[in-house]
Amino acid sequence: MLQYALKRSVLALLVALTVSLVCFLLVNLSTDVATAMAGEGATAEAIDSIRKQYGFDRPLVVRYFDWLGHAAMGNFGDSLYFRTPVSALVAERMPTTMILGTAAIAFALLLSIPLGVLAALKPNSWVDRLTLTIAVIGQAMPTFWFALLLMFLFGVTLKVLPISGSDTWQHFILPSIALGYYATPAIMRLTRSGMLEVLESDYIRTARAKGLRNASVLFKHALRNAVAPVVALAAVQLGFLLGGSVVIETVFALNGLGYLAWEAIVHNDFPVVQAVVLLISLVYIVLTLLSDVANAWLDPRIRIG
């Protein structure tokens, strides 16, 4: 088990390094950073002096390792736009994103597990079709559009929930639904197929044969087993949701990491872009690693195979 965990960890580290390299290259090759920093109407001399001052005239490799070394120590440099340390900005914005991500995944689980169970109980019935429809809509509809629909229904027309901002817990309701809905289809389909498989199995037949009540069979015996892989998937989905928070936070004006990323992109604040991309990827990598290890721990077949 330990060996498996170690192997996965090394792999995760390699992925993290690759992500850091790609993220560094994308930012640095996509635009001339010095020109971008100089702003509208800057003279050629101003751009040159920025290039020298920030060391953009050094080779790309040198700059990458310089940046990586500092990043490993938690130092992402200063934001070009806000002129404050990137790490402070990130620390300030992180909680909002974490609250949003957690609430969104909670919403997704609360909606998709019961629906998945329902669909599995009556496969190929209208209930199953209905849940499938909900899943397809969730997958197909752009999040910004769904967010606007929610806003207009609950904020503008019914006036029961705040439209944007992050002042109270109520401000998080619509964004969590908009973000969580996106994760719903995958979790629901996995719950459904897991339940279907489990309900067919011998021990469920035995349980029923013992004369256990239906509810007891379903929740105590079947769901517990069917839901194990769902938990692992949910961890991965949480990573996805954190990435998706760029759109949702911007639309709902939530002052989190995603919003920060958007501001940084608009203002060519590349140290912030690099830091946010790297951090969100790291969270994703760590969550995937944890879910892999948890799965292996639950199911020995994985770590041996």
Binding site: T35, G39, M151, F152, G155, T157, E263
Partner: protein, 507 residues
């Protein structure tokens, strides 16, 4: 931004408009709730270069001189009188009895410290061209200062009425730009009471605002500025009553908001001009544009009046020269005008040897609908323009690196109402000059450095005439700005893209 990103929400707005109840406006608690879509990196007016920062600056601080947006006359503000001492020296008599929000009295020391601090290159004020003409400021007595310019700089008063706001010297010396951003202190009609970076700026009416100010006395007690990046969310908040005023509303959205019973929409022209750049210099990536007949054909190909009606907005105006008409020195008098005449355009192309037209890359970075209309017009005369749509910075880099030779540029002149802030940027051999005509440069230079208004006017007029004659660019139109606000609010837009909320009042 793809079209569906604006069209879909506009349709949604239209549907929702039918159900909207009258909003709970800010009138009740005398608080005007507004939203900006961008976050200034610093509230210190010298350390940001975005529109939201410019707007805030005019509310928190005052200038030596105020430009009346109705008449474009310069009026006394923190200075009561001024005079040109010699070609490079201006003298100002300062107003007595003005106090900063922290109680510090305003006098010569404040002006001298502010201008000397921000004009020093090592202090890295963000927009150098706003301050780099200043050689220094000297105190003559407690209420008299002199400002020295490096060269004769006729637009000095315009800059002193625009980007250059006055800071309290003792406070600024103590806290610096960072402290000034965290807790701004000015003499202006509003004072900042709370600032949460990236979220909210709360302002309260300055009860001790000096009574002789050319800015009319504010009547609204509080202004809350929220930062909401998404324009659709802003519109939703406006409809839901969470906001009272928004600006930069896109044309489609403005049309829909007009249909909402409790809202008003106002359109104002802005100082931002749009024009087609056509590279003719030796590094031009588009040699076909070196032929004047081709450039003239392009000028004749586009029906600009029709574009105003359909995609630009009728508060805009058609331009014939590359500057904003209200700017000092901007004139289209005597400049060749190119009427919409596709037949003539085709004939000119045929004459130039392009009877079957040609293919060319066409660069742009904003107002996609307008760009697509232009492409349609170009195609109609045989110019097959292939759109390369990108972010502003990418566009600018492509032009400067001689990769883009044909595209639509827009320029807002930093709201400076003088032609020295517009035409020379594109025709005085700086990085964005893709034509490099010596004659044009010399004429512009004569205009930029003379202190005699008549001399300047003639020089600029001749420069603009030469640019039009050579068809170095195809001037298009000024760009409008749309504002959406509650019907309870009286609000007047001005053409300099600078909403004056201190003038707004509840009806």
């Amino acid at each position: 931004m793809p079209a569906y990103r604006t069209l879909l929400p506009a349709a949604l707005l239209a549907a929702a408009a039918a159900f909207v109840q009258p909003a709970e406006a800010g009138k009740r608690d005398n608080t005007l709730r507004v939203a900006f879509d961008q976050v200034p990196e610093s509230i210190d007016a010298y350390f940001n270069n975005i529109r939201a920062g410019v707007i805030l600056a005019h509310h928190i601080w005052d200038h030596l001189v105020y430009r009346d947006p109705k008449t474009n006359e310069y009026k006394p503000s923190l200075a009561t009188a001024w005079r040109q001492v010699d070609d490079t020296t201006l003298e100002f008599d300062l107003r007595r009895g003005v106090k900063f929000h922290n109680g510090e009295p305003f006098d010569a020391d404040d002006v001298v410290y502010t201008l000397n601090f921000v004009s020093k290159p090592e202090n890295k004020s963000t927009t150098q061209q706003n301050v780099n003409w200043i050689a220094g400021a000297d105190k003559i007595d407690q209420y008299k200062v002199r400002i020295r310019t490096k060269k004769p700089f006729p637009a000095a008063i315009e800059y002193l009425a625009g980007p250059l706001v006055m800071y309290p010297n003792e406070y600024y010396a103590k806290v610096g730009p960072k402290g000034m951003s965290e807790k701004p202190v000015g003499t202006g009609p509003y004072m900042v009471t709370e600032y949460q970076p990236g979220r909210l700026i709360r302002m309260k009416r300055n009860p001790d605002y000096f009574k002789d100010s050319p800015k009319p006395r504010a009547t609204i007690e509080n202004i809350d500025v929220r930062l909401i990046p998404d324009r659709n969310t802003q519109a939703a908040e406006l409809m839901g009553g969470g906001l009272d005023w928004i600006y930069n509303v896109e044309p489609d959205m403005a049309k829909q908001l007009k249909g909402v019973p409790n809202l008003s929409v106002a359109s104002g022209e802005s100082m931002r001009i749009a024009f087609i750049q056509m590279a003719t210099d030796e590094k031009s990536p588009t040699p076909v544009l070196k032929d004047i007949r081709v450039r003239k054909a392009i000028n004749h190909a586009i029906d600009r009046p029709a574009m105003l009606k359909t995609v630009v907005g009728e508060t805009a105006r058609v331009l014939h020269t590359v500057c904003f008409p209200a700017q000092f020195g901007c004139s289209d008098e005597g400049a060749l005008r190119y009427a919409y005449d596709p037949a003539k355009a085709k004939a000119l192309l045929a004459e130039a040897g392009y009877a079957n037209g040609f293919d060319i890359d066409f660069y742009a970075y904003r107002d996609r609908q307008q760009i697509e209309a232009i492409i349609g017009y170009l195609r109609a005369v045989g110019i097959r323009a292939n759109l390369r749509f990108m972010q502003f910075v990418a566009y600018r880099d492509a032009v400067r690196e001689h990769k883009a030779g044909f595209g639509v540029a827009t320029w807002g002149s930093f709201s400076v109402n003088d032609v020295s802030a517009s035409t020379p940027v594109y025709f005085k051999f700086e990085a964005d000059d893709v034509n490099r005509d010596q004659q044009v440069r010399d004429l512009l230079d004569a205009g930029d450095t003379s202190v005699k208004p008549a001399v300047r006017q003639v020089a600029y007029k001749n420069a603009l005439k030469r640019i039009a004659e050579q068809a170095y660019a195809a001037p298009l139109y000024s760009l409008p700005v749309n504002y959406g606000f509650t019907k309870d609010l009286a609000f007047q837009p001005y053409p300099d893209e600078l909403p004056r909320l201190w003038e707004a009042r509840w009806k």
